[in-house]
């Protein structure tokens, strides 16, 4: 029983991270209609900036976290403005290719600045496991759950209460209508990248204390986040959250009860199964 | 030759076509007219299999078309042109016309890779057909140009050549003279007359009334998804319903 609870907790923790990354994928997909491969490096970058903020600049945890998230959002905007926009192409094949290229470049930059070694990022609060109903839970896991909820709340507020957010949803549902009412496309693209970057960065900041940090840690996390987005129905925000949680649970339960050797494979088996059986995902239109 | 029988199509509750029925007779030119949004493109898309009609049936040479894929319908002998040009800009003009013969080129990937003598022979025959078509549409001297750099009028003719080259039973022409100047329009009209006298059956969607009235044997008028009149050009000219629905709205927008 306490085993099960333990697995559920770790599933929820990982699931929250996948949900954050999946949301990042969805935001860019909804406004630009493309699969943004750079999302995976936003995750890595979040962890790296946190590492630097806390250990090199000796900032306290919360300012460090904010700095890292804002930093990734800024980088994401730069990437969109100077990497993606010059293409002036509306051919999705080419845009997706370009995000692949930019992702490789960004990974190169990260490798150059922070090196190839594995690093340890300190958790937000010291690692004294808390007992909850017989399961021992790291405080970091609680932070992850809490901050993911905060991020989702902020995101909903943005998309349902602010005019920019509402126009971004308009773009998602009908690009031509959005152009007619005169919503500047450039600002929307920039904002969606900033949001995607912030979400990815937050995921990186929160997760790397658990996984350890190196220059391609985001690739695997990002791919799982994408699997979560597909599972929930690509483009659907509630779907991304639900997909992330389900994926996290499936992963930790299968690692706990079946075999941990293939733990990382679960996400992709789920991804391929969803694509075969129900490509629009659980909540897709 | 083509029977359209009570075809209806809805988009999210909005009717785009309701109970449209008419027939395209072999050897004749049937023109489909109507104001913008009348459902002409929807109907063409239903005939060519891009859209599935919600109700009703479409039959071509006594074969049911509903449920067939676009490529199957094309292989039955229905060729079309597109309202907003769909030529292949990177292929040469000649190759563009040759794509119109895809159905006759043999479909086996393996055979194509081996390039057996019979295929080479067939390829030469197809090339002759294509060159003939280019000749008819006065594009021979541009045969090896990439199609993307042709002038607009040439592109329109190229698309027509591509549709005609396979000698289809039925030609669907979606606004063949849209965007052309008077001279180019006269040129295309002449081509269409030649095609008609050669016995081609055509379904023509067009806004250019002069062209429609001089070339069509039968005119079908659509308005808001309904078929409001069918008859010879003279009948249509005198039909009060048409005058009200179509010509009236034309004047209002003019």
């Amino acid at each position: 029983m306490s085993d099960l609870l333990q697995f559920i907790f770790s599933g929820l923790t990982n699931g929250s991270i996948y949900a954050l990354i999946a949301l990042g994928f969805c935001v860019v997909n909804n406004t630009m209609g493309i699969l943004n491969f750079i999302q995976v490096d936003f995750v890595t970058l979040g962890g790296m900036l946190m590492f630097t903020a806390v250990l090199s600049l000796s900032l306290p945890m919360i300012p460090g976290l904010l700095l890292a998230v804002v930093g990734v959002a800024l980088v994401a905007m730069l990437v969109e403005r100077f990497g993606l926009r010059p293409a002036r192409s509306d051919n999705h094949l080419i845009l997706v290719f370009i995000t692949i290229g930019l992702s490789i470049i960004l990974r190169g930059v990260i490798k150059l600045i922070w090196g190839k070694n594995r690093m340890a990022v300190p958790p937000l609060t010291p690692d004294h496991p808390v007992e909850i109903m017989g399961a021992s839970v790291l405080p970091q896991a609680l932070w992850i759950l809490l901050l993911t909820l905060v991020a989702i709340a902020l995101l909903s507020w943005f998309f349902y209460r602010t005019s920019l957010g509402l126009s971004m949803r308009a773009v998602a549902s009908n690009p031509t209508a959005a152009a007619v009412v005169g919503i500047p496309a450039g600002r929307i693209r920039l904002t969606s990248y900033a949001i995607a970057g912030a979400l990815g960065g937050l995921a990186g900041v929160l997760m790397t204390p658990i996984t350890t940090l190196n220059y391609d840690v985001g690739v695997l996390l990002g791919l799982k986040g994408f699997a979560a987005a597909i599972l929930g129905g690509f483009g659907s925000f509630p779907g991304a959250v639900i997909g992330g949680v389900i994926l996290g649970l499936l992963e930790s339960l299968s690692a706990g009860y079946l075999s941990s050797a293939y733990k990382d494979v679960v996400a992709f088996v789920v991804l391929l199964l969803v694509l075969f059986v129900r490509p629009k995902g659980l909540l897709g239109k | 030759m083509l029977q359209i029988d009570k075809v209806s199509k809805h988009f999210g509750g909005l009717p785009a076509l309701s109970q449209v029925s008419f027939e395209v007779t072999e050897g004749q030119v049937t023109a489909l007219i109507g104001p913008n949004g009348a459902g002409k493109s929807t109907l063409i898309n239903c005939i060519t299999g891009i859209l599935e009609p919600g109700a009703g049936r479409i039959a071509f040479r006594r074969q049911e078309l509903t449920g067939l894929k676009p490529h199957q319908i094309s292989r039955l002998g229905i060729a079309r042109t597109f309202q907003n040009l769909k030529i292949f800009p990177r292929l040469s003009v000649l190759d563009n016309v040759l794509t119109g013969l895809t159905g006759k080129g043999g479909g086996s990937l393996l055979m194509a890779m081996l390039r057996l003598p019979y295929l080479r022979h067939r390829e030469r025959q197809l090339k002759l057909l294509a060159l003939n078509a280019l000749d008819r549409f006065a594009l021979t001297d541009k045969a090896d140009w990439p199609a993307g750099i042709l002038a607009y009028g040439d592109k329109k003719r190229l698309e027509l050549a591509r549709a005609c080259v396979s000698e289809p039973y039925l030609l669907l022409l979606d606004e063949p003279v849209a965007g052309l100047n008077a001279e180019e329009t006269a040129d295309i009209a002449e081509q269409l007359r030649i095609l008609r006298s050669a016995g081609h059956t055509m379904l023509l969607v067009e806004h250019d009334m002069e062209l429609v009235m001089t070339i069509a044997d039968q005119v079908v008028v659509l308005d808001s998804g309904r078929c409001i009149a069918t008859g010879t050009p003279d009948d249509i000219r005198r039909n009060p319903l048409v005058l009200e629905a179509y010509l009236g709205s034309m004047e209002a927008t003019a």
Binding site: H92 | S74, T102, L109, P146
Partner: protein, 333 residues
């Protein structure tokens, strides 16, 4: 026509055949001029990559989809050959055919549902597939040898003639590469190839011209998988040792970059793209550090300025220039 014009016309008419002949002769004579095993080894690696990239270029160029998983098919070929020959003791040649067939079947099974998807899910799905494959190679060590790799794969032989040194391998590998190059050239020049080119340009128009778009995409996908599998088998028999790292997602990305440099759907471009990316580490000293910048930078810059890919884009530009100049010349006269 004057004699010169006749000659030019002859050259133009038979340009493909002549280029293939010249290339074959050059490759035939190459070992006489270059006997350094290291250099030959490099050009042999290019030949193997060419086979993979040929199929991938046709797939990306014609189906308009990105596959980031072709290292899977490549690896399936390599491990398939290794396992069937070493573990099950099959002779290499039949094993190669068997493995290629099985990989083709596998591609068919996953291709049917996957190619029905719109958008670029395929890119991620194939990336996921490659990831799963790589993990299986690492974890299932009783069969694959795990991280330490699979050794002792037999050499290819013809009778008593073994392909055991670089010169012999040069003829074997480039023989295969040229064969597949020729087959692919035939394909793009055929009616089927034009149908595929139409598909790449405009899917609705292609369907209206009678191209069965779903089946066409599937066929090219299977073709590309089979070519990658054969290349994998050759790879295994050439080096007698394989390890999972040759088939990870970064290798798959490199294949895609080779395609982009050569150009979408361009058969000749494949030679250039593959050659460039395979040789880059040899030419550029600081390459190891800046590899990512070079690869990513190439991808981004080429696509921003020549969306059709480097070689194909340049060829298109030259074609347009030539036509415009001829037209100007004609109107001046």
């Amino acid at each position: 026509m004057t004699g010169k014009e006749k000659l030019l016309y002859f050259l133009y008419l038979h340009r493909t055949g002549l280029t293939v002949t010249v290339l074959s002769l050059a490759l035939l004579l190459y070992p006489l001029y270059q006997s350094n095993p290291y250099t030959l080894g490099l050009s042999n690696l290019i030949a193997i990559n060419v086979i993979v990239v040929l199929g991938l270029a046709l797939f990306i160029g014609f189906a308009g989809q990105i596959s980031l998983g072709h290292a899977t098919f490549f690896g399936m070929g390599a491990y398939g050959s290794a396992i069937t020959t070493v573990t099950f003791g099959l002779p290499p040649w039949p094993a190669m055919v068997l493995v290629a067939t099985l990989v083709g079947l596998f591609a068919w099974i996953i291709g049917v549902p996957i190619l029905r998807l719109s958008g670029h899910y395929l890119a991620m799905a194939t990336l996921g597939m490659n990831f799963v494959f790589h993990t299986v190679l690492l974890q299932w060590d009783q069969v694959t040898g795990g991280p330490s790799g699979f050794a002792g794969i037999p050499l290819l032989t013809l009778g008593s003639f073994a392909f055991d040194d670089e010169v012999r391998l040069h003829y074997l590998l480039w023989g295969f590469a040229l064969l597949f190059l020729l087959l692919c050239l035939n394909l793009v020049r055929s009616g089927v190839g034009r149908g595929l080119a139409a598909l790449a340009g405009e899917e609705t128009a292609a369907a209206a011209l009678g191209v069965n778009t779903q089946v066409a995409k599937l066929k090219v996908f299977i073709l590309s998988a089979v070519l990658a599998a054969i290349a994998g088998s050759l790879f295994a028999h050439t080096y007698s040792y394989i390890s999972p790292d040759s088939f990870d997602i970064f290798v798959a990305t490199d294949f895609v970059i080779m395609v982009v440099i050569g150009g979408m759907g361009s058969v000749w471009g494949v030679l250039f793209g593959t050659g460039t990316i395979t040789l880059l580490p040899e030419w550029v000293d600081f390459f190891e550090t800046y590899k990512d910048f070079v690869h990513g930078g190439i991808l981004v810059l080429v696509l921003i300025f020549l969306p059709q890919g480097l070689v194909a884009g340049l060829v298109d530009m030259v074609r347009v220039r030539m036509v415009l100049r001829r037209q100007k010349y004609a109107s001046d006269r």
